[in-house]
């Protein structure tokens, strides 16, 4: 038998070492639909508790919206459960193309190709479009899926310091001998919640004859006056060559992603991108639900407006309470604690107080940058946020972190 006792022991030791380092990921079981309040079973086997969810990417509160659910049910009835195939063989329905057209219009692009997820879009896009004569130049804080996608690509890869435009320009000059240069960035950075300087990036790209690719997963649907994303927020709609984004966060939260942008680039992804070629099509109920989401967002900006108000309110509450909050304008509001155990312990105590948050530490964020990343949703009412800050204040006082900045927190708790 190949899976010998020694083999089993080796894998157990690996798991033990993860557990001993305090890095074991444990899932919390949510009993019910995603929302501002959820019933969570944690630890497993204990009765579920009602808690306020300050941890989800359900930015617009559409994950369990009745209108979206109803559209998905209609899609299920009319188009079935799944496509049982990859897109280019026999897995494409007319509604897949309808959704691609709707996304193209929503994002202000030339064309769009759906993928099973944005992780897949990022895994496929670079290899499909660039080769050995080219270079990818990425912000150092881009999402892990972009890093993976770049690794799959034969183009040379380089990075620039986070949001450092002078460093980016140095890199563009350094790689001026390459056939194509593509700058890659997140629109909103998922761990810090800060917005890429997309206007400056696009200007630099124009000046140095480079392309720009933005992963806007944490922006599509709510950043910018009409919620189109970071490119709208920065006033560069139509000037970004490629946008990868997800349907799995603000746009209903189910699954699915896309590459949107220049017509030829999108078409080449359709011909070559491996996750498109070898993964099943997005399931019909999700396509139908996403189409309804885009209708809702085109009809009114009410949800993104409410989200913006909630994010400003929540950020101010945390600042007023004395937490070290990373500055920004997105609904991602990281409470900086720097010490991993402190982040882990405070998140646990907050759960006891009825607030669902998670501590983030290395390797998810750089060493010494541990935090509790809170995320606000349009589904939150102000009383949710008021209850949230009450719990944060209580736990923060218990640990003695209020009013302390990085220096004091590191002195008190270490890194």
């Amino acid at each position: 038998m190949a899976y010998s006792p020694d083999t089993r022991r080796w894998y157990r030791q690996e798991l033990d070492s993860i557990r001993d380092a305090g890095l074991l990921k444990q899932e919390r079981f949510i009993h019910g639909a995603q929302g501002a309040e959820i019933d969570v079973e944690f630890p497993p086997g204990t009765p579920a508790r009602r808690v306020i969810n300050l941890c989800a990417n359900n930015y617009l509160g559409l994950a369990s919206d009745p209108e979206v659910v109803s559209a998905a049910i209609d899609g299920l009835d009319a188009r079935g459960y799944g496509m049982s195939s990859v897109r280019f063989i026999c897995g494409t329905q007319d509604i897949h193309r309808d959704l691609e057209i709707a996304l193209t219009e929503f994002l202000g692009a030339e064309d769009t190709l759906l993928f099973p997820s944005c992780m897949d879009a990022n895994a496929g896009v670079f290899e499909a479009l660039l080769g050995e004569k080219d270079v990818l130049i990425a912000d150092r804080l881009v999402h892990a899926s972009i890093v993976d996608g770049m690794r799959l690509c034969k183009a040379m890869q380089d990075t620039y310091k986070h949001s450092d435009m002078a460093h980016l320009e140095e890199k563009l000059l350094e790689h001026r001998d390459k056939r194509f240069r593509m700058i890659v960035t997140d629109g909103v950075f998922s761990m810090d919640g800060d917005v890429a300087k997309l206007d400056e990036i696009v200007d630099l790209a124009d000046r140095h004859d480079a392309m720009v690719c933005v992963d806007d997963s944490h922006a599509t649907g709510f950043m910018g006056p009409r919620g189109r994303g970071t490119h709208e927020r920065c006033g560069v709609v139509g000037r970004v060559d490629l946008i990868t984004t997800t349907l799995g966060k603000a746009l209903g939260g189910a699954s699915g992603g896309c590459v949107s942008g220049r017509r030829e680039l999108v078409e080449l992804c359709r011909q070559r991108a491996r996750p498109y070629l070898f993964s099943n099509a997005v399931a019909p109920p999700i396509v139908a639900g996403a189409l309804r989401v885009l209708e809702i967002l085109t009809r009114s900006t009410e949800r993104r407006d409410r989200l913006e108000r909630n994010a400003v309110y929540w950020r101010q509450l945390l600042v007023n309470a004395g937490f070290d909050v990373r500055p920004g304008e997105s609904p991602i509001v990281p409470v900086m604690l720097y010490n991993a155990k402190l982040a882990q312990d405070m998140a646990r105590d907050l759960f006891t107080e009825g607030i669902y948050v998670v501590g983030f530490f290395f390797p998810v964020v750089p060493k010494g940058q541990a935090r509790i990343r809170t995320q606000v949703s349009a589904a939150h009412e102000l009383h949710h946020l008021d209850l949230g800050i009450e719990a944060f204040h209580k736990v923060g006082r218990r640990y003695g972190v209020l009013g302390k900045g990085r220096k004091e927190l590191v002195e008190a708790f270490g890194l």
Binding site: A138, R140, V147, M150, R151, M156, Q157, D158, T159, K161, H162, D164, F362, P363, P366, K367, G368
Partner: protein, 88 residues
């Protein structure tokens, strides 16, 4: 600290420490396991060394372990330079 190590250390500080990062690095500071350089960003360090010293660092030798400290990087560069044919 010899010139090679100083050159590598200067590059690491310039290239990888963000503005306002007050950490003091030396030749033994863990760069990759210490979270200062990730294995992705390591590519730029490898390219810098190849250009600066006119060498080719085989991918198989450019491991996170070999690039974890300035000391180890300098040892790797030294080994490759000494193995290179005269004139290169």
């Amino acid at each position: 600290m010899d010139d090679l190590k100083r050159t590598i250390l200067d590059y690491v500080v310039r290239e990888y420490l963000e503005e306002g990062d007050d950490r003091t690095l030396d030749a033994t500071t863990p760069l990759i396991t210490g979270g200062i350089v990730d294995s992705f960003s390591m590519v730029s360090l490898k390219r810098f060394l190849e250009r600066r010293y006119g060498i080719a660092i085989p991918d198989a030798e450019a491991t996170p372990d070999a690039f974890d400290t300035v000391e180890r990087i300098a040892a790797l560069v030294g080994k490759i330079r000494s193995a290179a044919p005269a004139g290169l």
